[in-house]
Point group: C2
Chain length 404, copies 2
């Protein structure tokens, strides 16, 4: 008889956002007339920018002609896109990253979930707490996380790095040295940013201890303050210890178009084996490249007109972030984030748990957010709101929350 | 110090098609004027059908409007596509498969590569020999295949099921019972089909022994003869032992658009755990759905006009298959396949090895095919040609091969 991967049985409940979707669907079924405002899942709402639409139409037309048809592309992504990424996201910022160190994919979630495959099962993994659940769940599935321990509210073989009000939501260098360290800045879910000096300390720590940093830079486009690094490769020595993952979802609204990329510098080696070559092999064996038309859309993100249109889109969401931040303060809430990130991390009032506050918001004012405890034990008593709604719905949601 | 997944170090060379690409690139660099005809990799050459182009443009336009914008979709695929698949590919053929048993993805290669994740590492895996390399390599990466043994020309923990001229390229039920059995019909690379009776014997064997069949039906659209099953679910009892994977690449030319799906019937359980729920969890955790616009293109495949246009496309390629089959026979080659599959499997002449014949074809007549030995030890002395070229290039390739 065949057996299953029983690590899956150690997973806790279902994926956070599926849970929320189910609760909302149940409420909606009981209250079909309810006008629910969703500031929960980090999904964008603005339509694709004109420059993206134009690039898509053009690429679709190509695909309908014998000369312009594109079948299997390079698994690592088309040269035109890899070059545009290297030039704009790295070289223009003084980071030494070449086009052939970039692996284009169908989204950062896939890369963030799959990257652990190229590492041994025996590695000790560190994650922030609260944390984007994909880092934890994919390591549970692989057998690296151990079992769930109710007493600690987490998995017994993971190193949790608390991000709390007390430490300004900045994880501290762990005493027990991890092999793999997941970091996400600007942070999901807390909205906290990291300074270049603080990130340099992580890079130095990783290089000193032989750890690898898996750096999720999905929210980089929302950085508004100086002194906040847009890439880990702005830090000296990052090429020997860090992998960076990027998304086109948040800077260009590609959540439904699917595009992302991962950077693996060629100097990143383990006992002489290059991680670049391992990931290249994985990409070639289990993946067939992102759609040609979507890669052309990605290229348009880096055109002059594209940059202009997308800066306006990011500014639109950041105006929402400001409205939420200030509106919550006005209403007497304590809230963090929303300055260099599209997320606002608020303290639940009256000692409510995160899920109690979720239910209260959903049932009393029909606003959906994300319970902080869904991101980890240290998220209990917090709640995440996103700036990705429309301006109108954001204003309306704030008015409703004020009424609470 | 972090460690790597050292199963990767057991992989043999690089992925077959990357190897071929490198050889062709090297030849091309030395002979920039050479007019190379590629009948190697199974990539289509006809542009996307008008109905697909139209659906794409329409969906792109939607994405540019606030009302029509689609962000994150259901990870399992949009209902409109899952329903169209269930209705057309299954229910219309008398197979009892529901829409919610279908998981839409960005391609069969990904699914075929990822599906092994939900199974235990201790499972014994059986593959045909010759075999599509992804089945083997992904199990090597997971640690299920053991080490490569030069003496047997394969991995010492896999069960290889030889498909040879003697058994008509039909694998025999193995004596040592495997837990996971990969089958692909119509077959890549041999082009052989399986009768319904023969497939029923596999289903019965799997049910009797508690094995799971991973059935790759990527070439189903090329079946031209009666009595050949289009789906394993045409066999009685398949719902309790089989997972089926499909591609839109070969029936609709989506190699550069990326779309596929996997079917997991809800009755397929292991000690009370449903494989459907495990795959659902994997999909939700590591994947974010295929692009909305590509799923709309997939929907168009099932429209009346779409079916008509795509049948014409398949007929075009099958005319190439006929030309290759008959042309090779005329030239004195022994060749198989090409009747229910777009692949022709020919015996190399004069006792040449597969790679020797590859080099001869490339260097002497500038035709690229795929060496049979790249698919496994039993593929030695064979060579795969595909029907996916244009008619003109196929005729020209045959004329050149005749000159050899």
């Amino acid at each position: 008889m065949f057996t299953i991967n029983d690590n899956y049985l150690k997973l806790q409940g279902s994926y956070l956002f599926s849970n929320i979707a189910k609760k909302v669907a149940a409420y909606k079924e009981e209250n079909p007339q309810a006008n629910i405002i969703r500031l929960g899942i980090g999904d964008v709402t603005q339509p694709l920018a004109p420059v993206i639409i134009e690039a898509l139409h053009k690429a679709v037309d190509e695909m309908g002609t014998p000369e312009g048809f594109h079948g299997y592309g390079p698994e690592q992504g088309y040269e035109f896109l890899r070059s545009a990424i290297a030039k704009n996201d790295y070289q223009a910022r003084g980071c030494q990253i070449d086009a052939d160190e970039i692996f284009v994919s169908d989204g950062a979630k896939c890369d963030v979930g799959n990257i652990q495959e190229i590492f041994g099962i025996d590695n000790k993994v560190a994650v922030c707490d609260p944390v984007y659940p994909v880092y934890v769940d994919t390591n549970v599935m692989a057998g690296r996380a151990g079992s769930f321990d109710q007493a600690i509210g987490g998995f017994n073989q993971l190193i949790y790095m608390p991000c709390t009000e007390e430490n300004g939501f900045a994880p501290e260098l762990p005493n027990e040295v991890p092999d793999m360290i997941y970091l996400c800045f600007p942070n999901n879910p807390t909205g906290a940013a990291i300074t270049k000096d603080a990130l340099q300390a992580w890079v130095d720590y990783a290089n000193k201890n032989g750890s690898v940093i898996l750096y999720d830079a999905a929210y980089e486009a929302y950085i508004s303050e100086p002194g906040i690094p847009h890439s880990i490769y702005e830090c000296e020595g990052a090429r020997t210890c860090a992998i960076e993952m990027h998304s086109f979802s948040k800077n260009a609204g590609f959540t439904g178009l699917r595009l992302g990329y991962t950077v693996i510098p060629k100097e990143l080696v383990c006992n002489g084996v290059s991680l670049h070559s391992l990931w290249n092999r994985r990409h070639g064996t289990k993946y067939n490249g992102a759609p040609y038309i979507v890669q052309r859309a990605g290229e348009a993100v880096y055109s002059e007109e594209g940059k202009k249109q997308l800066q306006a889109q990011v500014a639109y969401y950041m105006e929402n972030a400001r409205l939420i931040r200030e509106g919550l303060a006005d209403a007497g809430f304590t809230a963090y984030g929303g300055v260099n990130a599209p997320y606002i991390w608020l303290k639940t009032p009256d000692g409510l748990t995160s899920w109690e506050f979720f239910d209260k918001l959903l049932h009393e004012v029909q606003v959906v957010g994300t319970p902080g405890s869904g991101f980890g034990a240290s998220g209990e008593g917090f709640f995440r709101l996103t700036a990705f709604g429309t301006k109108e719905s954001t204003i309306e949601a704030l008015a409703r929350i004020r009424r609470l």
